[in-house]
Symmetry: C3
Subunit: 281 residues, 3 copies
């Protein structure tokens, strides 16, 4: 197949590169989920690379977020069930975290909400210091993140910073994301591609069994148990059904959500403007 | 009730502020524990704010530490038992960590020993870069910290730094506390109030159910089990009963402990002077 | 006994210092394992110091790595079994992590592979900012690290950075090691000895029971369960038996492995040169 939502460079057998390409802002939709699922299925049969790098063709957007239109929701619901039996998006991320390949997110541009969830499920996150923007802004719409961040963050950045990221819903630039441990490192943008390429190529020369052993042992003690994820997704869908969230989403769509707009560029800031604090009468 | 140990600003229903005020140095005593317990009881009934900020009226002391006089110990022992059945101080902190409100410590001045324990039990810790001083100096008196730090720190800052903080008993300024993950961030003091206020107000506009969901899921994987705490408190009281600790405390009281004194300002340094290393004869 | 692989300064009863001295590059061999085992046996009987510092007589090598000659392997296999029944090297590190003394690694020079494993099993790691070099380069030879890093790192530095350290096998200087939490702090080299000495002397004046209580409570929640280690060692020996690893080791010995050589100085870089990426035909 030729995927529609990303290009796949498999010209180097031990090092593959997925470059997201879903204009206008690299939304995650049913097609992307389906295509990534097919790719992962191949890799799960140990027919894939030692190292799999994810990057983006759009310097402003790594993966903007989930396509939250009702149309996309129906299409995702219609996808064939994945091996785990979980919702297709959770199924994909659980499988991503277990792939028999080293997975690296090369984050330039925005990776918010489900885009951040994707990055969290990869093994290693490198970020452009100047161009990366990460965050979990779901709370600003009125929802808990649905596919893992409440499981990943406390283990990755500690409870205090996990709460700040998830309850605050703000944007994190590369430097702050590095300081918090949200990403491994923030690399100056003009060195970013070389840095990631050098690291990925190095690891791709290493013994496959050694890489698999390391991944297995580290997963044994650091992967959240699968069963933590579905209740989060349930809480997310319950939030989506609340009228207040629907009202915020409607307004955001009017203001430019899911378009190449200021709203999307500064979505962390935008979601802080829905509400207003009231003094007591 | 009008609390005696802090002021409560509840003029904004979704954002309350507790400002500690217990001169001369904001000691934690039986009255403060009782009053905070009453406040938490209201919030536990979901009659409270979305966000609860703790700060201090004294720029030198957030919460100095526990009042370790025998008089206060008797008064604490006479408090009505809390819902958990634990010692009142542990009961208070366990409840704090589970409150159905986002809790933020805005730390300016000293937060040592029980003052640090209080901050650890809140969700988010912001510190003044220049004015915050955190530490667990109990070891210098000859005691393990009694209400949680041995549970919180390894999960928050990793085992190596947990050991350094707890075994070294030194003072940590804002910048180092941030580097270790002891606090979320250290903010320049002249921006500190605005930073905390802006963050707290933002979160206070968010959907209550979303905030509660996030807190619940993060607590599920990052709150130490309640049963870890009581043995720590038992070990603390055993230490207090040791004559060597009593001798150090007596000397410290003579030198200015629990007064507005150099001893209290530099307590981390002070406790390093009790002992002396002896060479072999 | 007078140890052959290190000097022991026990002139201050509460603060002992082990200074590794095994020219040419402080390899870990059967003699060192045996001698450290005897030392730990004394300390386990509570006949030791409050604080035990490990440093090196060689400013370029803290502990280079394990002596991987077949001769040494036979000698290690011939050591009397340790109390845990595990392989002698795991046995030693498990006991190190449980010692009734505060253990501090003062890392100046290289601490790679088993040298890094040793440091990870101590309570606190201080590093010379300019002279420390840490890393787990086993992956470059084709092996998973055998004695704990896949257990220690995810809990110490988070999953993402654990993967980077273990899958990348690169050298980490003092500053980066500090940023990742691999070490507690990186201290400018000209202040390094004073810093470590001041900290160690301070802790050595503190109450023994308080130190033991802290160590016990922190160990309760942060020490990997013993049973995690043996499967890692099994996977390591399986890797050692693979012909590709043997070929890399043979080449490395020819190039200067285990000698005072450029290969050892820059071993992290060196192991990245074994392989080559091939494009598809």
């Amino acid at each position: 197949m030729t995927p529609a939502r990303f290009t796949l460079d498999s010209s180097t057998p031990s090092l593959w590169r997925v470059t997201f390409h879903n204009p206008p802002i690299n939304l995650i939709d049913s097609v992307m989920i389906g295509e990534l699922g097919e790719l992962f299925a191949d890799i799960e049969k140990n027919q894939g690379p030692a190292v799999l790098v994810f990057d983006s063709a759009d310097p402003d957007y790594f993966l903007a977020h989930y396509d939250i239109t009702a149309a996309n929701r129906s299409l995702v619901d219609a996808l064939p069930p994945g091996p785990s039996g979980f919702h297709p998006w959770i199924d994909l991320l659980v499988r991503l975290s277990k792939l028999p390949a080293v997975t690296i997110s090369a984050i330039r541009g925005r990776a918010r909400a489900a885009g951040s969830e994707f990055a969290l499920a990869t093994d290693i996150r490198f970020a452009s210091r100047e161009r990366a923007v990460l965050g979990q802004m779901e709370v600003g719409f009125g929802a808990v993140a649905g596919a893992g961040p409440t499981s990943w963050f406390p283990r990755l950045v500690g409870r205090g910073r996990a709460f700040e990221i998830l309850l605050g819903g703000e944007d994190f630039g590369g430097a702050l994301a590095e300081r918090y441990g949200y990403v491994n490192r923030a690399i100056p943008d003009d060195e970013f591609e070389n840095f990631v390429d050098r690291f990925a190529r190095r690891v791709a020369t290493f013994d496959r069994q050694a890489l698999a052993d390391i991944k297995q042992f580290v997963n044994n003690v650091s992967r959240p148990p699968d069963e933590e994820f579905p209740p989060q997704m349930d809480a997310f869908w319950q939030a989506v059904a609340r009228p207040a969230l629907q009202a915020r989403a409607t307004k955001a769509f009017e203001d430019g959500l899911q378009q190449r707009s200021d709203v999307e560029l500064c979505l962390g800031e935008y979601v802080g403007q829905f509400g207003e604090l009231k003094k007591k009468d």
